[in-house]
């Protein structure tokens, strides 16, 4: 029950998102020189694309796809991660990448790699702190050997500030 209504709602959000993208595109495009058909300025093409996006955004909720509805029904029967597990997984992956960027620019490649793999591995509920640490250590050693030593990646191993 409810999956068709849910997919309706989803299409409404999806359409709104596309239309919003289109509207913002139009706003930005008219700040450039538009020109005319024979001599188009930099704003002409984005303006056209923006108009199409707005139109398509309106059409999306009006054209539901039966396969999608059926797919959603099938998916409900498969075991799905709980909301908690999903949030944890996503937060750890995103956090790991953010740490890679921060540590990479201040401390260097080795700590960045370790943090990335360690934190993102913790996102999977079946990983323990120990198994995540071992995996992270292995990847760090692997990364140091393959990328820095063999492929000469331009990324300092360790640095301060």
């Amino acid at each position: 029950m409810g999956s068709t209504i849910f997919s309706r709602k989803r299409d409404l959000w999806g359409g709104a998102f596309i239309a919003l993208c289109g509207a913002l595109t139009i706003l930005e495009a008219i700040s450039y020189n538009i020109g005319e058909l024979a001599r188009m300025g930099p704003g002409y093409f984005p303006l056209m694309v923006g108009c199409f996006l707005v139109a398509l955004g309106i059409l999306v909720p009006l054209s539901p796809d039966p396969d999608e509805v059926q797919e959603a029904m099938l998916e409900e029967q498969l075991p799905q991660p709980t909301r908690r597990e999903r949030v944890r997984g996503m937060a750890c992956i995103a956090g790991g990448i953010a740490l890679f960027i921060v540590l990479g620019s201040f401390l260097g490649f080795l700590p960045a790699t370790f943090a990335l793999v360690f934190v993102s591995a913790l996102g999977d509920t079946s990983n323990s702190v120990k198994s995540a640490a071992i995996l992270a250590l292995a990847m760090t050693v692997f990364g140091a050997v393959v990328f820095s030593w063999a492929l000469q990646l331009q990324f300092p191993m360790l640095r301060w500030g």
Partner: protein, 506 residues
């Protein structure tokens, strides 16, 4: 004979040590990635793309192509043994492949899988050799109006014929065109959609976009899900031994599948996935005992596998000879060529003959290597299925980050992957397929350039697109697609209403 010389020349290029090694590496990686559940071909190609910067364009393309068709072999193995499609083009193989494995006939199914793949691919390669030069002849007569109409047809077809809602697909194409606009306008030097961020003045890097949408977004969606929904059954005996009747009953399905795949691979927008679905439908229709399908019919493995491998090869035809990719994987290949400073299109076939014919020759060598790798080593691939996702994705994430960093030696790009990955996850949740977006992104700058040039030449008259006969043909095809779209939307609305009624009663 000209053609024969070209093919021979191709083999001499493909058999050079460096090229041979990279092509072997590519098919090996492809096979492995195809087997690993939860790893897509697109993610794999984009992760390994930065590795190719130091290579010659020939070796780079051979490796990347190897990943693509190697994954076509590997994906089928996962289907048969795990009932889990490694790549979407193998979803159909699961239907009959897995029941066969459960009946203890996995050896027979795997053998037919490898043979059908090889025959399908060979047919595809022959078609490519014969057909590409013809297409090049035609393409030399193309002007900007033809290119624009043809690209629009390709984009529309790619969006509407792919799985899922057609309107959503088209919306994604336009989003892709929009993302392609970001950066410096080549005609005026204006920085568009840069919002003052200096790193955006070169545009969004293809690698960051592909990794975000196809790598990271999938990790977000699959974390804590894979390994839960898919419990590996008891390890089946690994042997690749066909049963005598199977080869005979598979011969015709393989032939039909190869033909279907070859045609659908060339057409814009249709590719390996649609080819395999269509081949399955055809086999079911011509079969005297359609009831067996879904319960372990060997024809249901052989036909679709031949079709998707054949399509995987022929989809290179429009990409190489016209510069128009038919699907997102080909869009990535095109992007890789452009990164290496080669503009695909009819000129490429004549100017970079070693690249074009070398690639074709490498297909054949690669496919033979795949047969060799898969028949005796099937046990090794099957063991690979047991690598748990919890170790796989953090390691893959590391390759994503390092790969993106190495493109420009810039951590800003890694941040861009994170943002694009979150956007990609949103698309998945809203059921927008990201593949047409990539197609639009790669073609975007070319679409705009040809559109502007065509109208500059015609002094602003839109009729140029229907006055020239070839261009008009493409425009009419687009209109036909649009008409079909309206028709199917109306029909779909009815079907959805019925589904709702059924649900309300249940």
């Amino acid at each position: 004979m000209d053609l024969f010389d070209n093919v021979l020349h191709g083999f001499s290029v493909a058999l050079q040590w460096e090229n041979l090694l990279w092509s072997l590496f590519g098919v090996f990686m492809g096979n492995m990635i195809g087997v690993l559940p939860g790893m897509g071909v697109l993610a794999a190609i984009s992760i390994l793309l930065p590795l190719t910067y130091a290579m010659t364009p020939v070796a780079a393309l051979m490796m990347l192509a190897g990943i693509y068709y190697g994954a076509q072999y590997g994906g089928g193995i996962t289907c048969i043994l795990l009932n889990l499609p490694g790549t979407p083009s193998h979803a159909v193989t699961c239907l009959d492949g897995n029941p066969l494995a459960r009946q203890g006939k996995s050896g027979s199914a795997l053998f037919m899988l490898v043979m059908a793949s090889f025959v399908g691919a060979s047919v595809g390669i022959v078609i490519m050799i014969l057909f590409s030069p013809l297409l090049v002849e035609v393409a030399f007569q193309f002007g900007p109006a033809e290119y624009f109409s043809m690209m629009m047809l390709g984009l529309f077809a790619g969006a509407t014929l792919a799985k899922g809602s057609a309107i959503k697909g088209i919306a994604m194409v336009f989003l892709g065109l929009l993302l392609g606009v970001v950066g410096t306008d080549v005609n005026t030097g204006t920085i568009r959609f840069g919002f003052g961020v200096i790193e955006l003045s070169d545009g969004i890097p293809l690698v960051a976009l592909a990794m975000g949408l196809f790598g990271l977004a999938d990790f977000f969606a699959n974390v804590n899900r894979i390994g839960k929904a898919t419990t590996v059954g008891a390890g089946p005996k690994m042997s690749v031994r066909p049963e005598p009747g199977d080869i005979k009953s598979s011969a015709m399905p393989i032939a039909r599948g190869s033909a279907i795949g070859a045609v659908l691979g060339i057409l814009p927008g249709t590719g390996a996935t649609i080819a395999s679905f269509m081949s399955y439908a055809v086999e079911k229709r011509v079969s005297k005992t359609p009831k067996r399908f879904g319960n372990g019919a060997i024809e249901g493995v052989a036909g679709p596998e031949a079709a998707n491998n054949s399509a995987a090869q022929t989809s290179f035809i429009p990409t190489m000879s016209l510069g128009i990719p038919g699907d997102s994987v080909m869009a990535l290949m095109l992007g890789a060529l452009i990164i290496h400073g080669i503009q695909p299109g009819p000129q490429m076939v004549t100017e970079h003959a070693d690249l074009f014919w070398g690639l074709i020759a490498s297909f054949w060598i690669g496919n033979i290597m795949l047969v060799v790798m898969n028949l005796p080593l099937i046990g090794m691939w099957a063991r690979l299925l047991k690598v748990p996702y919890k170790y796989l994705f953090p390691s893959a994430l590391f390759f994503v980050c390092v790969g993106v960093y190495s493109t420009n030696n810039n951590l800003f790009d890694v941040g861009m992957v994170l943002v694009l990955g979150l956007v990609g996850y949103l698309f998945l949740k809203l059921r927008f397929s990201p593949a047409p977006l990539l197609l639009g992104f790669v073609l975007g700058p070319m679409v705009e350039e040809n559109f502007r040039r065509a109208l500059l030449l015609s002094r602003g008259s839109m009729s140029v697109f229907v006055d020239r006969p070839i261009s008009a043909g493409f425009v009419y095809a687009i209109l036909a697609l649009a008409a079909w779209l309206v028709f199917s939307t109306v029909r779909n609305r009815k079907r959805v209403r019925e589904l709702e009624r059924v649900q309300a009663n249940a």
